[in-house]
Amino acid sequence: MTTYVGKPVRRVEDHRFITGRGRYVDDIKLPGMVYAYIVRSPYAHAKILSIDTSQASTAPGVIAVLTGKDLEADGIGGLPCGWQVNFRDGTQMKEPRHPVIAVDKVRHVGEPVAVIIAETREQAKDAAELLTIEYEELPAVVDPQKAVEDGAPLVHDDAPRNLAFDWEIGDKAKTEAAFQEADRIVELELENQRLVPNAIEPRAAIGDYNPGTDHTTLYTTSQNPHLIRLLLCAFVMGLPEHKVRVVSPDVGGGFGSKIFHYNEEVIVTWAARKLKRPVKWTAERSESFLSDRHGRDHRTKVQLALKNDGTFLGLKVRTYANLGAYLSTFAPAIPTYLYGTLLQGVYTTPAIYCEVYGVFTHTVPVDAYRGAGRPEATYLLERIVDLAARELNMDPADIRKKNFIPPFDGIEQPGYQTQVALQYDSGNYEAALNRLLEMANYSEWRRKQQELRSQGRYIGLGLATYIEACGIAPSAVVGALGARAGLYDSATVRVHPTGKVSVYVGVHAHGQGHETTFAQIVADKLGIALEDVEIVHGDTAEIPFGMGTYGSRSLAVGGSAMVRALDKILEKATKIAAHLLEAPESDLEFREGRWYVKGTEKSISFPEVALAAYVPHNYPPDLEPGLEAESFYDPKNFTFPFGAHLAIVEVDPETGEVKLLDYYAVDDFGNIVNPLVVEGQVHGGIVQGVGQALYEEARYDENGQLLTGTFLEYAMPRADEFPMFKVDHTVTPCPHNPLGAKGAGETGTIAATAAVANAVADALQPFGVKHVPMPMTPQRVWTAIQASQQVS
C-alpha cells in the first residue's frame, strides 16, 4: 500500500516557479558584484598575433582586462576530458590542451579570447569595442569526413588526420560472414545533424571569494555541482577542495548541455579570487549558440544483411563523429560507449560490427545532448529496419516483430547478452509494440492512408521501437571503458527531532521534479506526510558527494541510494521503537508510520521515535543517539527502458511541408513513481525529437561560421506545430535496483526523431523517395520528391 508512490502528486517545487520566486543563477546579486564580458573569436581558425588592452583597460567602469596569458601566468590549466577512448591499435587518445582562454590560436568561432570585467554589464560590453586583437586567419575544416582527408587543415598539430581516436565494437569477421550468407543487403548513408541544446535559461556563473577565510564559492548553472568542483579544484585551478563550494540553485533546463565543465566557470572563479570581488557572467543567447556544447553531428553508413523472410543477420555501421575543436568533458563516450553499444536495439541481430572515428573540426565542441548517442543509434537502426521492410514489402510492424528479442524479466529468465557488450536487464518489446498498435488503431490508420492516397493526400506512419541504456552507471564497468569518474550516487537522510525529514541528494533537478518524486518515496517509506519531507540538492556545502543528473540516472541511481539510506534509518529506528515498546524487534511491525507490537494495539509513532533519538533519556544502551543515515549506491548494471512510438504525418508534395497529425507513445520505464512527471518528460522529449526531425540544425559554412546562430535562424519547435500526444506505459521492472525503476528522461528524444523520419519516408513511398535528410524542411522534402521523380 502506498499513499504517494505511483500517484500523480502535484509538484511541490511549482509554487516558487509560478509565483516568480525561483532563484536561478542570474537572479543572484552579491554585494560589490561586478560583471564579466567575454570577447570571443570571430574566426574558426586563426593565429592570435596581438591583443592590445590599453584602451579597453581605461574605459569607464572597467576593472580588469584579462587574457589567456594572464590566466596561464597564474598557473591555471586547461579543461580536462573525463573519458578516455583510445585508438584501436592501443595508441592513446589525442587529448590536446583545451585552453580556458585561447592563447596563441583560436579553433572555433566563439572561443574565449579575452575577458573584460567592469562595474556594469554594459560598461564591460562597451569596453570590448575598444579591445584591439590582431588575427591571422587560417583555413578551417568543419565536416568530419573532410577533416580526415589528406591535406585537410589540422585543428591540433599533434592530432594527425584530425583524429582524436578510432574505435570499434562487435565482431568484424562474424559480421562479414553474415553478410556473405545474406539474401540481401540494405544500406543507407545518413547524417545525424548537429543540434544546439538551447535550454531556455542561458548559462550563467558567479565567482565569489572571501579572502578572510580563503573560501571560494561558484554559483553555476550546472547539472552536477560536485563534478564541477572536483574538476575545478583537482585539474584546472589547483584549489583546496574543502574550501571551495559549488552551488547550482534552480537551473532552467539542461538537456546535457549543463553537465560539462565550462571555460566561464573557471574565468569567474579565477577573476573573483584575483579581484576579490564577486564576478558574474551570464550568456547572451548568441553566446550560448557559440559556446554551449553542441550535440549529435554524425556522418554514418549503415548496412543491414537479412534473409528474404525479414530475419536480420548482420549489421555494419561506420560513423564519423564530429567532436568539435576540443574534447569536452564526456565527448569521447557519446559516439562510442553510448552509441555503438546500443546497436543491438531490440532485435536479435546475431552479428554486429561498428567503427567510429572521433574527429576534431573547427567547430564548437560536441558532447552529450538529451539521449546522447542513443538517439543516433536508434535513428540509424530504425531507418534501416524500415527500408528493409519496404524492400521486402513487409509492414514495418511485422518486420520488427519478426526480429524482437523474446521477453525476459531478468529474474526467472536471465538478462539478454547483446553482441555489443551490454547485458539488458529486462524487456518485453513486443508487448510495448502491441499496446501501441492497439492504442493507435494502427490498422485503421493504414486503411485511411490508402484511402487518402487515392485522393492525392499523402499521410505516413512511422514506427520506432527503441531501447536505451540509462541509470548511468556501474563505476567499475565504466572505469574499464575509459571513464575517469565513478558513476555511483548518494543520499543523506536526516530525521529531525520532530520527525520531519530532510534528504540531501547528490543528483540535481533542473526540471525533473525530484523535490516531489523523491519526497513521495520518503513519505511512503517512513509513513509520514509529503509536506514533512524536504529534498535538498545542488549545494556542495550541504549534499554528500554525488555525480549529478544526466543519462536518466537520478531515480535509478540516486533514488536507490536514498532507499538504502532510508533502510538504515528504519533499521535504527526499529531498535529504538523496540526499546520504548519493551518488545523484541522481531515482535514489531511497521506500518503507516507506526511500530505496532504484533497482535496488539500497543504502538509508537515515527516522530516519537525520532524525538527519542535526540532526547535519549530512555534509550537502548548500545545505540548512538541521533537519526541520520547516508548511502552511496553504485548500480549493478545500466537500466534499459524501451518502448514503441508511432508518428503520423501528412506531407504536402506541392510545398514539401510536413505536418505532424498524431503521435502515440508506449514506453516502459519500469516502476513509475509519479505518472504526471513521467508523462511530462515524455512530452518534452517528443517535441525535442520532432524538433531534430523537422526543424533544428546547427549549420556551419565552409569557413566555420555558424549560420544558424540565433533563434531567428535556428528553428525551435513551437506550440502550434504539435497535436496532443497520446502516451501510455507498459511496466517491466528493473530487476537490479531497489525501486525497480529504469529512468524516463530521454526516451522521447530517442524515439521521436526516428518515428517522424520513418513517417515522412512512408508518406513519400508513392513518389519513390527512400530517405529525406534531417531536418526535413519543406525545401528538403520537395527536393527529395523532385529528385526521385527525375530518376523514375
Binding site: 500523480p8 509560478i18 536561478y24 533546463g253 526540471g511 506550440a719 504539435f722
Partner: protein, 156 residues
C-alpha cells in the same frame, strides 16, 4: 546620465533614474529586484520576458525602461492576490505545465493576455497564442492544458 521615470508595477509606484539604454526587463530584474521575469534570448524570440504593460502582453526585452515611463505593469509576482494563486498559476500546477520553470512566468503572462481577450479559447487558439514563447521542457502539451484549466475555472 540617468533619465527619471515613474512606473507602477504590480500596483506599487516606483520612481527611478535609469540609463536611457536600459531595457525594461533589466529594470524589472536589476533595479526593482523582480527576478520572476526572465531573459532567454537577444532576438525577442523566446517570450521568457513577457509582462503585461498597460493591459497588453509585451516582451520586456524589446522595450527600453524609459519607454515604460508612466505605464502600469503586471509581472508574475503580482498575480497572486492575498495569498491566493491566480487560476492560471493554479492551472500550471494542476496540469504540470512546467518543469524547469524558466519559461513559466512568460507563459503565464502570455496566457493572462490571451484569456483577457478570449476567455474561452480553442486548443488551436491557445497554441497560436503561445507561438512566441519557447519551452524546451514540457513539449507544450501541459501548458495548453494548464490554460484550458484556467479558462474553465475563470469562466465558472
Amino acid at each position: 546620465m540617468g533619465v527619471p521615470i515613474k512606473v507602477t508595477v504590480n500596483g506599487r509606484q516606483y520612481e527611478a533614474e535609469v540609463d536611457p539604454r536600459m531595457l525594461l526587463v533589466h529594470f524589472l530584474r536589476d533595479v526593482l529586484d523582480l527576478t520572476g521575469t526572465h531573459v532567454g534570448c537577444d532576438t525577442s524570440s523566446c517570450g521568457a520576458c513577457t509582462v503585461i504593460l498597460n493591459g497588453k502582453a509585451v516582451k520586456s526585452c524589446t522595450l527600453l525602461a524609459v519607454q515604460a515611463d508612466g505605464a502600469e505593469i503586471l509581472t508574475v509576482e503580482g498575480l497572486e492576490q492575498n495569498g491566493k494563486l491566480h487560476p492560471i498559476q493554479e492551472g500550471f500546477r494542476e496540469e504540470h505545465g512546467l518543469q524547469c520553470g524558466f519559461c513559466t512566468p512568460g507563459m503565464i503572462m502570455t496566457a493572462y493576455d490571451l484569456l483577457q481577450r478570449n476567455p474561452n479559447p480553442s486548443e488551436a487558439e491557445i497554441r497560436h497564442a503561445l507561438e512566441g514563447n519557447f519551452c524546451r521542457c514540457t513539449g507544450y502539451q501541459n501548458i495548453v492544458k494548464a490554460i484550458q484549466y484556467a479558462a474553465a475555472k475563470m469562466s465558472s
